[in-house]
Amino acid sequence: MTRTLKIVLGALAGVVVIGAVAYFFVLPQFVPYVFHGQTIQSNQAAPSVELDGPNGSTVRLTDYEGQVVVLYFGYTFCPDVCPITLSKLDRAMDILGDKAEDVQVIMVSVDPLRDTPEVLEQYMAHFNPDFIGVTGDADAVDRIATVYGVYYEAAEGSEATGYLVNHTATVMIVDKDGYLKLVLPFEGTAEEMAADLGYFLR
């Protein structure tokens, strides 16, 4: 092999190495992260939440400053949709691993008549021991659902079920500083949720 050839090959190898380093390590720093939901850049803190939580405690959103809070509005009576979202969130916690310590999942019940704090506590524990459920009187729940853009309505069910609650099934993400940053649609996968949460846990 002639010396020229060696130099050329050496240069080529160098280019490939530099290119690989640039592509895998440098470029990703410059491409903005794309979320899987609707971002909000409000400069106003997320609306306060003050509802009854497990063990007679009062749960406030501000209690979780420093943690990322995931807010979901649902109710225990629906066996299909609400468990799907909570299972996905549980899997997202698994994917996040240690980082999940800094995430708090809270479900606000839009069915305060049937969902007492005791029922909610047992229900949430089934999905993940760290998840909590909160509720309150009708007006408190109405205010919080309203300011979080959640529509909910008691609709007629059958004789056996009693009323069913139609509701917006989106998931809200509040960052560590208490600002509502992201609204995830129901259709998202656990992996997408984990990726987006991971961004706020950096």
């Binding site: 066996p79 524990a125 079920t161």
Partner: protein, 145 residues
Amino acid sequence: MKRHALFAVVLALSLLAGACSSSGSDGIVVDDPWGRASPMAANNGVFYMTIEGSNVDDRLVAAYASVCGATELHQTIMTDGVMRMQHAETGIEIPAGGEAVLAPGGYHVMCINKDVEFKTGDIIPVTLTFEKAEMQTVDAEIREG
């Protein structure tokens, strides 16, 4: 002569037997019935399955499980982020040669006021009533979902 007669009888009997067993391949087949694990704190449970149609259009009209206070067929309808549940009063259609899918986010059997906790691994028998085909009882396996 006797041998021919014997042969004819055996042939006739076997044909009859064949005729009786042929209904199996044209009937309704229920695939993978399962239910979601659910604590007692949750009032209701849910079952899912895939129902393969027979050679005629049919309909699942009812379901029954002894552990449920009441059992109903429901459909979850998601439009633009809003979740609604509707009682499928006329049942669930099973097109001939096609299938009806009861899966998360869509049609499901709702077990109302369940008496027991649904634990992963449990088997719960669910009896399905069809409009035309015969009733079937399937064993739904409880999973994490």
